[in-house]
C-alpha cells in the first residue's frame, strides 16, 4: 500500500504541475491581461506601463518561470477591488464552496445509491422505469435552471426556504439540491448498471446457494464489489461539481470561491480570477488523490497494477 501511495503522490504532483501550467497557458494565450485589466479609455502609455509592472514585457519563458515561482509561494498578486492578497480572499471563501460541494455530494449519494440498487433489483418493473426516467430528466436539467425553478417554487411561491445567502441548514438545502441533482442522476444510472452486472457474477450465485438472505447477498457481496466504479465516478464528477458550484453560488448568492471568480471577471480583478481558478483546480486534484488512495483500500488488486 505504501508503494502504491507514493506512486499516486508522484502522479498527483505531476498533475498539479500540469494544472498550474495549463492555467498559465489559458491565461496568457487567450489575450493580453493588461488590456483586460485596464478600462476601455486607457492610453497606450498606461498599457505599456502596466505590462511592465505585470512582467508581460518579458519573454514567455521568463513569465512562465515567474508564474511557477509565484504559484509555489502562493503569491497571486493583490486584488484591485479589495486591496488584499488575492489568495487570502479566495481561501477565505473556500470553506463555503466545500460545504456546498460536500452537501451536494452527500445528498446525491444518499438519494442515488438506494435508487440505483432498487432499480436494479426491480429491473424492468415500474420502480425501475420511474427511477431511471427521473435520472434521465435530472441529467438533462442544467444547474442554473434547476436553481431558478427551486427559488421560484419553493422559496418564492411556497416561501418554505430562504432564496439566497449562507447561514444555517435552511440556506443550504436549495443550493445543495441544485448542485446535487445532476450528479445524483449520473450516479443512480451507474449504480443500477454496476449492480446488474455484479448480480450475475458467480460469487453472488454462490452466496445465494449457500442460503444467505437476499439482504446479505446484496449488501455484503454485490454492493462491495460495485463500490469501485461508484467511487471512481465520485472522484471524476467532483470536478463537475466544483464547476457547477460556480453557477450555483452565483444564483443563490452563496459566498464561495465560484461566485468570487465570476464577480472578479466582471470587475476585471484579474489576480483574484487567477487565484480562484488555481485553488479550485488544486482542490479537485487533491480530491482525486484521496479517491485514488481509497481505491487501493477498496480493491487491493489495483495497488499492484
Amino acid at each position: 500500500m505504501a508503494r502504491y501511495a507514493v506512486r499516486k503522490l508522484v502522479h498527483t504532483a505531476f498533475v498539479a504541475f500540469g494544472v498550474v501550467s495549463l492555467v498559465f497557458v489559458a491565461l496568457r494565450m487567450s489575450g493580453d491581461p493588461a488590456a483586460t485589466m485596464l478600462p476601455g479609455d486607457a492610453s497606450i502609455d498606461e498599457l505599456v506601463a502596466l505590462r511592465k509592472v505585470l512582467g508581460l514585457d518579458q519573454s514567455l519563458g521568463v513569465q512562465y518561470a515567474r508564474f511557477l515561482g509565484d504559484a509555489l509561494r502562493g503569491d497571486f498578486g493583490t486584488s484591485f477591488r479589495h486591496q488584499q492578497p488575492a489568495l487570502g480572499l479566495v481561501l477565505e471563501r473556500l470553506p463555503a464552496t466545500l460545504e456546498l460541494a460536500f452537501a451536494a455530494l452527500l445528498l446525491a449519494v444518499v438519494v442515488a445509491l438506494p435508487l440505483g440498487i432498487l432499480a436494479a433489483l426491480h429491473r424492468g418493473r415500474a420502480l425501475d422505469v420511474l427511477a431511471m426516467g427521473l435520472a434521465v430528466v435530472g441529467q438533462a436539467t442544467p444547474y442554473f435552471w434547476m436553481g431558478l425553478m427551486l427559488i421560484l417554487i419553493v422559496a418564492v411561491e411556497l416561501a418554505w426556504l430562504p432564496t439566497s445567502g449562507r447561514g444555517g441548514l435552511a440556506f443550504l438545502v436549495l443550493p445543495a439540491i441544485t448542485l446535487g441533482t445532476h450528479f445524483a442522476a449520473v450516479l443512480a444510472r451507474l449504480t443500477r448498471t454496476t449492480m446488474l452486472e455484479t448480480l450475475t457474477q458467480n460469487y453472488v450465485t454462490t452466496a445465494r446457494a449457500k442460503g444467505l438472505g437476499e439482504g446479505r447477498v446484496i449488501l455484503a457481496h454485490a454492493l462491495k464489489n460495485a463500490a469501485v466504479p461508484v467511487v471512481t465516478l465520485i472522484g471524476l464528477q467532483f470536478g463537475t461539481l466544483l464547476g457547477g458550484a460556480v453557477v450555483t453560488e452565483t444564483i443563490f448568492a452563496w459566498p464561495g470561491v465560484g461566485r468570487l471568480a465570476v464577480q472578479s471577471i466582471f470587475a476585471r480583478d484579474y489576480p483574484v480570477v487567477q487565484a480562484s481558478v488555481f485553488v479550485l483546480a488544486l482542490t479537485f486534484v487533491a480530491i482525486n488523490l484521496l479517491v485514488d488512495l481509497l481505491y487501493g483500500v477498496l480493491d487491493p488488486r489495483i495497488r499492484d497494477e
Partner: protein, 281 residues
C-alpha cells in the same frame, strides 16, 4: 435491425428533429421579431393566463419581446454553437487519438499526460480563465467548448487504435504494402467511426448545457443576441414578476438535451453488441 429501430430511437430522434427544424425555420415561423420589443406590451403572461394574448403565446419579456420568438431564434444560436463545437472537438480529438494510438512513441506519451492533466481540471474553470482574458463572444465560446470536449474523443479513440493496430487485418494490410496513411484512413477510421458518432451525440447534449451555463453567467452569447442561456440570465432578475421568461428557455434546453442524450443511449445500444446482448439476456 428493425427491432432496434423502435421507440427508444424514434422518440428522441423526433424531439431532436423538432428542435433542429425550429432552429432552421426560425426566420419564417417566428410570430414576431426576437430583438425588437413592444414597450407597451412588457412582461405579458402566456396566452392561458389572465392578461395573455394569442399574439404572444408564451408571453413577453421585460423589453416587450416575444418569448416564443426568442426561443425559436435562440435554438438557432444554441444549436449552431453546440454543433460547431462538437464537430471541432470530435475531429481534433479523434485525429489526435487515432494518430497517437497508432504510432505510439513520444507523442503518445505526451498526449496521455496532457489528457491526465486536462481531466484534472474542471472544465468550467478552464472556460473562465480563457474567457476572463479573451472576453466573451461566440467564436471564443466555440473554441473553448471544443477544448473541453476533444479530450474525451482523444482518450477513447487512442485506446481503440492501440488495440486495433495489432489486429490481423491491419498486419495483413501492412504485409501487402499498404502505407500508414492508407491503414489509418481505410482500416482504422471506419472501425472507430461509430464510437466517435456516439461520443459526439453525448457531447452535443453536454455542450448545449455548458454553453447555456456560460451564457447564463454572462460569459457566453451576449445580448441582444437571443440564446437560451443569456435569456435566462435576464429572466433570473425579474423571476418573481414573470415566471414564464425563466421557465420556457430552461424547458427548451432540458427537452433538447433529453432528446440528444436518449438518442445517444439508443445509438450506443444499437452499435454496441455487448449492451444489446446483456439487454436480451
Amino acid at each position: 435491425m428493425s427491432r432496434r429501430l423502435g421507440w427508444p430511437l424514434l422518440l428522441p430522434a423526433a424531439l431532436v428533429l423538432a428542435a433542429v427544424l425550429a432552429a432552421i425555420l426560425a426566420p419564417w415561423i417566428s410570430p414576431a421579431s426576437p430583438t425588437t420589443g413592444e414597450l407597451g406590451a412588457r412582461l405579458k403572461p402566456p396566452v392561458w393566463q389572465a392578461g395573455g394574448s394569442v399574439q404572444r403565446l408564451l408571453g413577453s419579456d421585460l423589453l416587450g419581446r416575444d418569448v416564443l420568438s426568442r426561443l425559436l431564434w435562440g435554438a438557432r444560436i444554441s444549436l449552431s454553437i453546440a454543433l460547431a463545437a462538437t464537430i471541432l472537438g470530435a475531429v481534433v480529438g479523434s485525429t489526435v487519438g487515432l494518430v497517437a494510438g497508432y504510432y505510439r512513441g513520444l507523442a503518445d506519451g505526451a498526449l496521455t499526460k496532457l489528457i491526465d492533466v486536462q481531466l484534472g481540471f474542471p472544465f468550467v474553470l478552464l472556460a473562465i480563465s480563457v474567457i476572463a482574458v479573451a472576453g466573451p463572444g461566440i467564436g471564443v465560446l466555440v473554441v473553448v467548448l471544443a477544448v473541453g470536449s476533444w479530450v474525451g474523443h482523444a482518450r477513447i479513440v487512442r485506446g481503440l487504435a492501440l488495440s486495433l493496430r495489432e489486429r490481423d487485418y491491419v498486419h495483413a494490410a501492412r504485409a501487402v504494402g499498404a502505407g500508414n496513411a492508407r491503414i489509418l484512413l481505410r482500416h482504422l477510421l471506419p472501425e472507430v467511426l461509430s464510437v466517435i458518432l456516439i461520443l459526439a451525440t453525448f457531447d452535443v447534449g453536454r455542450i448545449i448545457i455548458l454553453e447555456s451555463t456560460l451564457s447564463f453567467l454572462g460569459l457566453g452569447v451576449q445580448p441582444p443576441t437571443p440564446s437560451w442561456g443569456s435569456d435566462l440570465r435576464d429572466a433570473a432578475i425579474y423571476i418573481r414578476r414573470a415566471w414564464w421568461t425563466a421557465a420556457f428557455p430552461g424547458l427548451a434546453i432540458m427537452v433538447v438535451v433529453l432528446g440528444v442524450n436518449l438518442l445517444g443511449d439508443a445509438l450506443r445500444d444499437a452499435f454496441d453488441p455487448r449492451t444489446v446482448a446483456s439487454r436480451s439476456s
